[in-house]
Subunit: 336 residues, 4 copies
């Protein structure tokens, strides 16, 4: 059994890691840390995990004797924890933004932090870097919007079809985390649509850096908060530079993702919607349509807490540890 720790387990991503890992037959969660809730039973914070016989602990990373750790810690905190873990041979999947960027300057600019402990890390999107992840000691889990945008965008860039992409995202509120704020207060976001960070969200440079691995492209991104708990719809708008039909595009996507266990390319008439992937690790991509102006639309749907965070983190663990990729992650969405 792989012994695993979740560092920062009291948030929503911690809860989702616990939900999946508790029934993973190759893994035992030996520590779930939380300073705030030390010695509190998990179920007081995550009420759906009623039978989980585990308490939050206040162990520091140096006291953790585990095979692998998920660091579900805030941006800026991970960089103070991860190096020590890696050094003593613990494999790490980091869910923060600290190790996502090749270019540290971009990180420092967009996160407003000095990066004190840069390390070599593999970017943890299996559809991009499956093989590298298999051999990695440190994997940097992608941002939630980033996963939805990249998976929808890869074939477009790879085939040289576009040089400009506009990604317009609609996100559920759980993406903001478990801590209440005015923006997440029910009366403020219930029955409402609220754009935010319309030209300066931190996930924009991450989408840009990763999609540019596939070709020259500039990506513009705008997120909106909608009264949904989980899920991100990312609508890509672009003007193909080559002469293609919607069907050509559909075929490109089918080819690109034909062996991917968690990406589903939808046929004509099928609509990506967040409920189809609610609670699951699947990404649905569809709506390959063009209008009279030559604009092409491609839309992806993911659950931001699963495919956008904890699910892909476990997918990465499965790859790093040689387990079957889909282990514990093969459940379908909860619709309705």
């Amino acid at each position: 059994m792989l012994e695993v720790a979740i560092i920062g387990a009291s948030g929503y991503t911690g809860g989702e890691l616990l939900r999946f890992l508790d029934v993973h037959s190759e893994v035992e969660v030996v520590a779930a840390t939380s300073r705030q809730y030390a010695d509190t039973p998990i179920r007081k914070v995550h009420p759906h995990l009623h039978d989980l016989d585990l308490k939050f602990s206040n162990k520091s990373p140096s006291d953790l004797d585990v095979d692998l750790a998920f660091t579900a810690t805030p941006h800026g905190a991970s960089m103070n924890i991860v190096p020590e873990l890696v050094e003593k041979g613990v494999k790490v999947v980091d869910l923060s933004g600290d190790y996502r960027f090749d270019d540290i300057d971009i990180y420092e600019k967009w996160y407003g932090l000095k990066h004190t402990n840069p390390l070599e890390a593999v970017y943890g999107l299996p559809e991009m870097y499956r093989d590298k992840i298999k051999g990695a000691d440190l994997v940097a889990n992608p941002g939630c919007y980033v996963t939805g945008a990249i998976l929808a965008g890869i074939p477009l860039v790879k085939e040289g079809l576009v040089d400009t992409i506009i990604a317009d995202s609609k996100s559920g509120v759980s993406g903001a985390g478990i801590n209440p704020t005015p923006a997440t207060h029910y009366p403020n976001i219930g029955d409402n649509v609220v754009p935010y960070a319309v030209t300066n969200h931190r996930h924009m440079p991450e989408i840009q850096e990763k999609l540019a691995k596939y070709g020259d492209v500039r990506v513009s991104f705008t997120p909106h908060l909608v009264p949904v708990i989980r899920g991100i719809i990312t609508t890509l708008h672009c003007f193909p530079l080559k002469d293609v039909t919607p069907n050509d595009v559909l075929e490109m996507y089918k080819e690109q993702y034909k062996d991917e266990p968690f990406v589903r390319v939808l046929d004509v008439g099928e609509i990506p919607r967040t409920s189809s992937v609610r609670g699951s690790n699947f990404c649905h991509i569809g709506c390959f349509e063009m209008d009279e102006n030559g604009r092409l639309v491609v839309i992806s749907a993911i659950d931001n807490l699963v495919k956008g965070a904890s699910g892909v983190a476990i997918h990465n663990m499965n790859l790093m540890c040689g387990f079957p990729e889909t282990m514990t992650l093969d459940g379908v969405g909860l619709h309705p």
Copy 2:
């Protein structure tokens, strides 16, 4: 492998049966019938079941050669299908109201139908009739509100603690089924609370008949529709006839349900909420509190589509067929 048919598979209960049965290792779904959607791939109606390689069929019950059938057919339709199935040796779990009542007069009065084909059936609430279900050929699945109210009420009645119970329920909209109506139209029920059938809901006589198996009691019931997809909170209000403390009551419940795989009695400070059981077959019961007037409160939470419909149907199948009880049903709720 047990060969199973789902008759009337295009509704929400059909979708949930398919979601659970598709990963049940002892079962193969060989037919999912729907007149409206004959020859349509399942995923066109249940978009989360994307990988299910099955189409709706238009087979009539007489053409079905299966070991067990779930009849997810409307009230009044089941009675025309079930007898033929039972006669030719197919085990049946009926999800309609047609076979729930001991007293056919009550059925006919409350459903406004003549019952043309009465049959001996076991009432399919495992917490009541586990042993009888094991040997049954025909099991009548309980109504969704009924399950929430009975599980919350059994210990009160069994111990002779009360002679009157008021059950005030708040239900998600999926309980109304997959067919759109003005009551389920988003602008009419979003951001709204709507009482309905406040003294004459069909589930009231069913709660009454079943709880009365445990002792003399009269039950009054009022449901409300709330802007929630899945889930029922049932708040029982009663005035104990005996001198008890909240803790006595809590202990009664713990004793009653200590071996039940799907009922969880919550400790002081834990609150039943629908999100804790969303998508799962669990029932949470809690809030054993008394006020200065001697009123006792007990509250249950279930997912109406799972513990209130398709989950308990599969639980019944597991019992009828000798499979482990919790097979395919052990997933926890999806919170948040």
Copy 3:
């Protein structure tokens, strides 16, 4: 023009007071105080009040030279502000719980506070105390749940029809105020139903004290939070001690409220729902039905921020100052 101050204007009740008073032809709001937002334009906090050319001020009550003040201050804070205002001749409508109770012991027990400045106040429910309010200098605005429960209960108690009432309420989240908490965090309450304070909510003794003015009765109360922004549905369950028909009860209510400008007694077939009164000062009461057990149901619907708080506060002001009762308050609900 009546010069008015709103003390504590940055909350939801402050916003609603401003929305109604801004178009009240006899009133000028000369100060809207907020320590947190001093010198900030109102619209930064209440974005719908875009054209309101007013800033929050940090004036202390002693610096306010106004005719009337609304104290939308927290429980425990009002008692430190109100006496000074009253003493210098400012009429006051207090929206906190500090002056609601005849019996200070009850206040101190349920609010966990020592009351340092008791004063004579009129309880501000116009349907109870219209005439006293007209001559009052200090009016204590009722709790939101209390208004819904009392209006639904008065005729029952007054006619000696019942000695016990169970009030089961379902409330929108704005009742919890503008400050974010885990309970009001969208992912925690969206798509959810959460009972709370099931036998010990502070509004219970207030309902009890006020309804008992009409006759002997004991009231039990349980609130639930539902994913709604505004609105409270209060379902009264009771067993009439006299022989009455539902129609008798309906007629009692019609008689009781026939001259009330803001209470509407619904006919058979009309359903109280929160959307019917959303944003308005109306209270709808309906569902006068009885079941086979002799249980009677009566259900009220109000907007907790209007009839349950700011609307009735302005109604009280209109009465205190001799304005037409319905002035600025006659708008209907926003449905859908």
Copy 4:
């Protein structure tokens, strides 16, 4: 008093027309027609209009003797009603799509109907055609998405700043009307985001035709349904052809709309959100931001039932009849 009829008054736009006209001091609604609900009191269908002492009538247009009629009839039905009304001297505001287009071929192509009764009509967006509307006998009310997109786009096109606009809209469900469908069924759209008609919505050619009055531009449009009752957020993405700063753009908008009674240009730091305009006739426009790629974002918020339908219809009536423009329409949004 202007005598007015609402033809097709049982839908949501009919309800909103009645809500505003009932308190319009220059107007009397003498007929509200509905075939389905003839002789039914209005409040049975529009429960918030409880005090409205009016029944639906089944009068045919030829029997209506009124000064002005609102035809809130479906596309294709209006063209059979409007000409007769106009001929006999009734002023008409038509809320359908039948008279919106200059180019009938476009109408016929996108609506799939033969237009049997073309007539000269003024396009009823006051911010475009105020003077023409004043003298018009027939005004064609704009589509809801169109209003949000045009108001956000006019300055961009008029100043020659762009030749391409992508409009990504998020709409509340009431835009789909009062008739229930699978798309509007609560369990299907609650907690969900659903793109639809991603490249072929009927409002696209209308946006295109109207914006092109201001300059050469091609507009691409994609709508999404979100779990909101009322409101549309339209996010415009474009790449300015000239060198401008966000502040330049903000100033252009302030200049364009400085005298408009219902358009508010938001300052830096203010965010358009649907709740700010909920139930009101205001349009908020804001978020004039640019990213590193030179993409400019402009976002508008309207209530689709008011500024997007019934409010602007009354605005048009006020202009056609010489009433003050803002009469009955000056209420602010209902937030929260």
